[in-house]
């Protein structure tokens, strides 16, 4: 069943790749702030499209 070995190797390479990226993300401070990004993504530059079905509220 060399296919199993092969897939495990591929799986480990992919997982290791993700692990490296994860470590990079943590180290580079990606997750230092785990709240404000969720709020920040709500604010776009809304001026250019004013009249929408349910306009998104701007910062008050």
């Amino acid at each position: 069943m060399s296919a199993i070995l092969f897939l495990i190797v591929i799986g480990i390479i992919v997982a290791a790749g993700f692990l490296l990226i994860f470590i990079w993300a943590v180290k580079s401070g990606q997750y230092d702030d785990s709240y404000s990004p969720s709020v920040r993504m709500l604010f776009d530059n809304e001026e250019s499209i004013p009249d929408k079905e349910e306009p998104l509220k701007k910062k008050s």
């Binding site: 390479i13 992919v14 990079w24 785990s34 709500l42």
Partner: protein
């Protein structure tokens, strides 16, 4: 800090959006057609490219890669620039990506119905199209990753992570599973065989669900739900955990598609364990999505967009609960090969992917056309049609799956199968197939209403081709304007990914062929390669998509051994490039169809008449007739090439056999045809049906060989 001005391009979003709608309706209509064919098997009218086995792959490919594919590109091309505060990296790459992907879809539509297929579920497309997919996918990946690199926000929002994981993993999956050796422009054989091929295929198949249908849509969930509800995601921390846990677990779950098969037990157990663990991140994600709407349920009542999202996320929760359940061996013993699986995937496809897509479209159109949605009422009607349609689709199929499985397994008090006649278990579920058609029709009606509504919306508004935005530059980026390798070093993300891709491609090209070929050496000495005629017959079996209705994998249960014959051994499949285990038993298992002493055996003349008209022999059969197999001349011009490709793959045909293949083929064809003529059937030697009969009569016979005879002299 100085603000930089830039624009978002809505033109590419619009292109993908329109393609999503177009291919969505096409894919669903093909689905409706094949659903009808299961109730009205004569509907295809003897037209080869309309028959079930040819259209079912078209349906799955269209819905997955065309509808959901364009849907996820819509979501990504709209949300990624806005989340990263920068335009997409390259408009040109975007255009190449869009048109390339549509060309691939058209190529699929022009090959699959005409029988050009590799014969592996969800990876049916032939090798030139596979190469095109890989190239276009890389174009998409470069565009996405470079956009991330050029971002103006320090933090990479969780949705982007989901998108990047999608790109990386799908690239790996697609390449690993599509290594085929061409025979001609539109015919190739996979490098793996039998159980090995099955394992690679379902590793791919499962992860395609995970990384094509799930992760990008989760990214979209984390963008569009907060946007539409105008409130942040319930827990951003949870979303990060959701992401990392999900991608680390998903890769290992594939073997749950091969429970009770000839796959080693420990690999099956591994698949089960990871599948069960998957419920944790999946439900974490579902809860996170739903709780985002806490305190906003009044909005949900009014907004069709949010309503659709709620049903989508709920369906995600349902199918990710059901998935682990179906991975338990005891449940899988009942569910596998039945309509339960079909119900399961449609909760995912109609509920999760469909509803997410519709919600997104209803949200995007008014924004991109700077107007109100034409009719909220129609959107609400669509919502109800889609929801009830989904239920009318899935519930009867759950029932059908259960009923059929129990009937297959039931014994009488005397120890005989209660329903030895397979057709009894088919007629039992036909009414359920009827209700499923109703469900599908409701669902499609909803989509048609949506299209009307969206066209009206677009006509009422004016298209906003670009939107302006401004943001300060990211400090760390100012210093890395220089080109070349230094830029790469400065970008660990991109660098890691490119390195990963390089390692993988290098490793695959170097080590797979030799590894695979060696390991395909048989472990059962009586198992021999197919004769040239049988090989041609097998290619017809693949071309007609018989595997969409018939399995070739007898599991080691008393009920199956009794019904079909001895259970399938791994060593019996070592020359099967590709494997044909199948995943659904709309008809009986065929793994031992050729065994003379077996419970299913039928003479050649029976098969001949059955292919011409199944209903003449089994009145209530829902197998379509294959009159063209009777009429068509067998094209055996490529048989030498096929044999030598098989030799390259390690199939032990004797040296120089490729040159004799044609004579051997004609000789065997003559024997079979003569036998048929003796029974009064008017047939010439080289009809396609002769090859197919040769293959069918070979199925499962090797381990029943008593005299040690062989068509070949090498052993």
């Amino acid at each position: 800090m100085e603000l930089q001005k830039f624009t978002y391009d809505n033109k590419i979003t619009r292109l993908f959006m329109n393609a999503t709608i177009l291919w969505g309706i096409v894919g669903m209509l093909v689905g409706l057609t094949i659903a009808l064919e299961l109730v009205f098997p004569l509907m295809s009218g003897g037209i080869s490219w309309l028959s079930f086995g040819r259209l079912r792959p078209l349906h799955t490919n269209a819905v997955i890669f065309a509808f959901v594919g364009n849907g996820l590109f819509t979501g990504i091309y709209y949300s990624a620039p806005r989340l990263l505060k920068t335009p997409m990296f390259s408009e040109l790459l975007g255009k190449i990506h869009f048109w390339g992907w549509q060309l691939i879809i058209v190529a699929a539509a022009l090959t699959l119905p005409f029988g050009f297929t590799v014969g592996k579920e969800y990876a049916e497309l032939e090798w030139p199209i596979d190469i095109a997919i890989a190239l276009i996918w890389v174009v998409f990946g470069i565009n996405l990753i470079m956009t991330t690199v050029k971002r103006r926000t320090k933090h990479i929002y969780v949705a982007i992570w989901f998108y990047i994981a999608t790109f990386v993993t799908v690239a790996v999956l697609h390449i690993v599973n599509s290594i085929n050796i061409p025979v001609s422009l539109l015919k190739s054989y996979p490098i793996y065989a039998g159980v090995q091929d099955a394992l690679v295929q379902w590793w791919y198949g499962h992860n395609a669900v995970a990384f094509f249908l799930t992760t990008p849509y989760l990214g979209m969930m984390y963008y569009f739900i907060p946007k539409a509800a105008n409130r942040p995601v319930y827990s951003y921390k949870l979303s990060i955990i959701h992401f990392w846990a999900l991608i680390f677990l998903y890769i290992w779950a594939g073997p749950h598609h091969l429970l009770y098969t000839a796959l080693p037990d420990w690999a099956q157990a591994l698949g089960v364990v990871f599948s069960v663990m998957l419920i944790a991140p999946s439900w974490g994600g579902m809860i996170n999505g739903l709780l985002t709407l806490r305190g906003a349920w009044d909005k949900v009542r009014e907004s069709p967009v949010l309503k659709m999202f709620v049903v989508a996320v709920t369906a995600y929760g349902m199918s990710t609960f059901e998935g682990p359940l179906l991975s338990l061996k005891s449940v899988n013993a009942i569910s596998h090969f039945t309509d339960w699986t079909i119900a399961h995937v449609h909760i995912g496809a109609l509920g999760w992917n469909g509803m997410m897509t519709f919600g997104m479209l209803y949200w995007l159109f008014p924004r991109i056309y700077k107007t109100q949605l034409f009719s909220t009422k129609l959107a609400n009607i669509h919502f109800w049609l889609a929801t009830t349609g989904m239920l009318f689709f899935a519930i009867p199929l759950y029932f059908a799956g259960f009923a059929q499985s129990l009937m297959w397994k039931e014994f009488t008090a005397d120890g005989y199968l209660k329903y030895p006649n397979f057709i009894e278990t088919v007629t039992q579920v036909i009414p359920m197939y009827g209700i499923r058609i109703l469900g599908g029709t409701l669902y499609i009606t909803g989509v048609i209403i949506m299209i009307f509504n969206l066209i009206k919306t677009a006509n009422a508004g004016t298209f906003v081709a670009t939107e302006d935005d401004e943001a300060p530059a990211l400090e760390s980026h100012a210093s890395v304007i220089d080109k070349g390798h230094r830029t790469l070093e400065g970008k660990p993300l991109l660098f890691t990914l490119l390195a990963l891709a390089a390692i993988l491609i290098g490793g695959i090209i170097e080590f797979v062929p030799m590894f695979m070929v060696k390991s395909n050496i048989p472990t059962i000495s009586s198992v021999k390669p197919y004769t040239p005629l049988e090989l041609e017959g097998r290619d017809i079996y693949i071309r007609e998509g018989c595997y969409n209705c018939h399995s070739q994998m007898i599991r080691p249960f008393r009920s199956e051994v009794e019904r079909y014959g001895d259970y399938t051994k791994a060593g019996e499949t070592v020359y099967d490039h590709p494997f044909q285990f199948g995943s659904k038993r709309t008809g009986p298992d065929l793994a031992r169809e050729g065994v003379k002493t077996g419970p299913l055996y039928k003479p050649n003349s029976w098969h001949y008449n059955h292919f011409f008209s199944p209903q003449k022999l089994v009145a209530e059969s829902i197998m379509p007739p294959f009159p063209w197999l009777i009429a068509n001349e067998l094209d055996y011009s490529k048989i030498s090439k096929k044999i030598s490709v098989m030799q390259t793959l390690g199939v032990p045909y004797p040296e120089g056999y490729a040159n004799q293949a044609k004579d051997e083929l004609l000789k065997q064809a003559n024997e079979i045809a003569q036998g048929l003529r003796n029974e009064g059937i008017d047939v010439t030697d080289t009809k396609e049906v002769i090859a197919l009969i040769a293959y069918i009569q070979r199925l499962g016979t090797d381990i029943h060989r008593t005299d040690g005879s062989s068509a070949f002299t090498n052993k």
